[in-house]
Amino acid sequence: MSTRYERYRPTSYHHKMSIFWWVKRKPYMLFIIRELTSIFVAAYAIILIVKLNALKQGAEVWEALLVSLSGPFSVTVHIVVFIFVLFHSITWFKLAPTAMVVKIGKKKIPGSIIIAVNFMMWILLSGGIVWILLQ
């Protein structure tokens, strides 16, 4: 006994998402920047490969690389890379507690403590590297 009279079948409206959706709001912008840091992380990984290669090729190649690395272009590039990887580290550590729930006894450790611990480790490890190299 179905009597489905259809007086009007409305069509719902679907908004199309713009390819520039991430410019619309600040949090999205920051998100995209955070995601793009990965490019700089990879860039530095490649620089490391190049350096390894030079080191392997012998002292001359190595010295030559050092010279070209101390030019203003290279330094500028490194400064940019530095800014982005710094952003990466900061956002990464800040997000650390979302995935981790750490408990001592029955009490949940608040996220802020986990973040603080991460930052401290970061400073310690960086200090360690500096120490090894300046030996």
């Binding site: 409305p10 069509t11 409206y13 679907h14 908004h15 709001r25 997000l95």
Partner: protein, 247 residues
């Protein structure tokens, strides 16, 4: 003269116009009014044709979510004054089909909620006469936060991945799955993994994190998803490294 504030409200009436447009209204600016009061004022005094959903007016039924100045909020708990001096732009929730004015399609969301099997799954159920399952306050606190979701869908409207990948099961549904996974009375995690460790599941999330920012009940779906990713990864590695250990 009473001070007023300008509201630009998105209108969509399919029989009339295939395209949405903004309509402006001037409403009194009263200190104790939330956005919803202003909409009710419009509906009662200015324009009876405006359609939107609401019910409890106390932030718990989850029906009054809208985009206000590009941000998803519950209109029954956000004061007009916050947007002084205006104008305030009010639109239906992002990424859902618009049925009419500020009313959006909800069926897709409801289907996703159902898909994560949000009920207690047990191998053997206890008869009511045997009494309650025991659950200590700590066990309760394991999942309590995830049980606070009011299905307002704000998190979906805040998450660009939902907009880009309509199949993505989305923040609230995943938080709901975790609500049951972490409940010590439940034994259904494996069944939920079958739903959530697929292509539409948790790994679509790129941790934009806005879902948790806009959540009015501090459910923290972003956290729920991240924790699920860790579980998912653990699950995957165990099944690879211990292929026979898996049941």
């Amino acid at each position: 003269m009473e001070t007023t504030i300008n509201l630009q409200v998105l209108r969509y009436i399919p029989e009339k116009d295939p395209d949405p447009f903004y309509q402006e209204y001037e409403v009194p600016l009263r200190e104790e009014w939330v956005i919803l009061d202003a909409l009710n004022y419009i509906k009662d005094q200015i324009d009876g044709t405006l359609s939107y959903r609401w019910s409890c007016r106390m932030g718990v039924c989850g029906s009054c979510g809208m985009m206000v100045n590009e941000k998803p909020i519950l209109t029954c708990e956000t004061f007009l004054e916050k947007y002084m001096p205006g104008p305030i732009r009010i639109a239906p929730l992002n990424y859902f089909g618009v049925i009419r004015d500020l009313v959006v399609e909800t069926d897709g969301f409801m289907e996703k909620v159902k898909r994560v099997k949000p009920w207690i799954i047990r191998d053997k159920e206890k008869a009511p006469l045997e009494g309650e399952y025991l659950q200590t306050p700590e066990e309760l606190s394991e999942y309590k936060q995830y049980s606070m979701c009011i299905n307002c869908m704000l998190c979906y409207s805040a998450c660009p991945v939902v907009g880009l990948e309509p199949q993505f099961i989305g923040p609230a549904a995943i938080a709901l799955a975790q609500r049951y996974n972490y409940d010590n009375r439940d034994e259904g995690q494996n069944q939920r993994n079958d739903v959530l460790l697929t292509d539409d599941g948790i790994f679509e999330c790129t941790l934009v994190g806005e879902c948790s920012e806009v959540c009015p009940k501090k459910v923290d779906p972003a956290g729920a998803i991240q924790r699920y990713k860790v579980q998912g990864a653990t699950e995957w590695w165990t099944s690879v490294l211990l292929p026979f250990g898996k049941k």
